[in-house]
């Protein structure tokens, strides 16, 4: 069971979430100009990374908001949680070692004192501060 740190609600069991597959797949800019090969790529081809993978998750039983996550597909370690619309953070340095307890993740299960007050409809693209590291033992 993954323990996932929702940027709005704090860390919750995986059962509260839905998986959304690869993140940062833009809708084609000029759909009318695309050939069959390009359509196939857009519709059916997604990265299947072994290692750190940027993916989307939905906190379906909680705040019902989408967010992005960097997760290692081999160890299942969650390396970062960051808002939709922001670029993939650089976590070449192991996240846990670098940030220690200074995680900005809404803590534990409760009042989430540090939860960023991002609006659901307009998450500012500059709010890199809400890119969060996962708490210890985020995966089992």
């Amino acid at each position: 069971m993954l323990l996932i740190s929702c940027p709005n609600c704090g860390s919750r069991d995986e059962t509260e979430f839905h998986y959304g597959g690869q993140a940062h797949v833009p809708y084609p800019e000029n759909p009318n100009d695309m050939n069959d090969r390009e359509w196939a790529e857009f519709l059916f081809y997604r990265d299947n990374t072994k290692g750190t993978f940027a993916e989307r998750w939905l906190h379906s039983t909680g705040c019902r908001q989408w967010f992005n996550m960097l997760r290692d597909t081999v160890t299942y370690d969650i390396q970062a949680v960051y808002p939709m619309g922001t670029p993939r953070p650089d976590v070449s340095v192991p996240a846990a070692a670098e940030s220690g307890t200074a995680s900005t993740a809404a803590d534990s299960t409760t009042t989430g004192s540090a939860a960023p007050s991002t609006s659901a409809t307009s998450i500012s693209a500059t709010s890199t501060a809400s890119s969060t590291t996962a708490p210890e033992g985020a995966t089992k």
């Binding site: 609600c9 919750r12 989430g112 007050s117 991002t118």
Partner: protein
């Protein structure tokens, strides 16, 4: 929006309205262990689903009517008679006693709708969407812990906090109303399941503790 509230004659239907777990009333009574853990279905409530950006002007107008909008997960704001539960950064559940409903002489839905005006957002009468269970007693937390993965210890889950989560595998809003009392808001269609699930989880406390 909120059409049901405006329907003339809805008061005539009030008497035949049945709550989603009313068929369990007797079972809840027998299953409760006085002084240990007690389960009841709560009275009807007026509930409004509100979607609004809290930092916007319309957000401030709605906050003025509702008695504030909670800023983050867990927070509950409101007045003596109205609670506003945080569901998401721009989604809230306004809960008030049944009499607050416009069809019964109140004006909650209407005044929220008016506060939003034409601005982007949503006020929806959700009074029939969920029922409530009141679970209380020294064992109430232990009962919930059988089916809820959150940390319910009083050190982190304090009275006046509400969280959207799962209890017994179904989605609920869980409000801590007192040191040993909780209110659960399941959707109406899950009321039967959750009622029976809680009864089952309470059963062991009817027997003497095995030392």
């Amino acid at each position: 929006m909120a059409n049901t509230a405006a329907l003339e004659g809805i008061n005539g239907l009030r008497d035949i309205r049945r709550s989603p777990a009313s068929h369990l009333t007797a079972a809840l009574e027998t299953g409760s262990v006085q002084g240990t853990v007690v389960l009841k279905e709560g009275p009807f409530q007026t509930m409004a689903g509100v979607r609004v950006d809290p930092r916007s002007e319309q957000g401030s107008r709605i906050a003025a009517v509702a008695g504030g909008l909670p800023a983050r997960c867990g927070e509950v704001s409101g007045t003596d008679s109205v609670s506003v539960l945080w569901l998401a950064p721009s989604e809230f559940l306004v809960v008030a006693p049944e009499e607050a409903h416009d069809s019964l002489g109140g004006d909650l839905i209407g005044s929220l709708t008016a506060a939003l005006g034409d601005a982007p957002g949503q006020v929806v009468d959700l009074s029939a969407n969920r029922t409530t269970f009141e679970l209380s007693g020294p064992r109430a937390r232990a009962v919930l812990e059988k089916g809820c993965a959150l940390d319910l210890h009083p050190r982190s889950f304090t009275p006046g906090t509400a969280l959207t989560t799962e209890v017994g595998n179904i989605p609920v809003i869980l409000l801590k109303t007192g040191d040993e009392s909780f209110r659960l808001f399941p959707r109406a269609s899950f009321a039967d399941f959750l009622g029976r699930w809680l009864l089952d989880a309470m059963r062991e406390y009817a027997s003497p503790e095995v030392p």
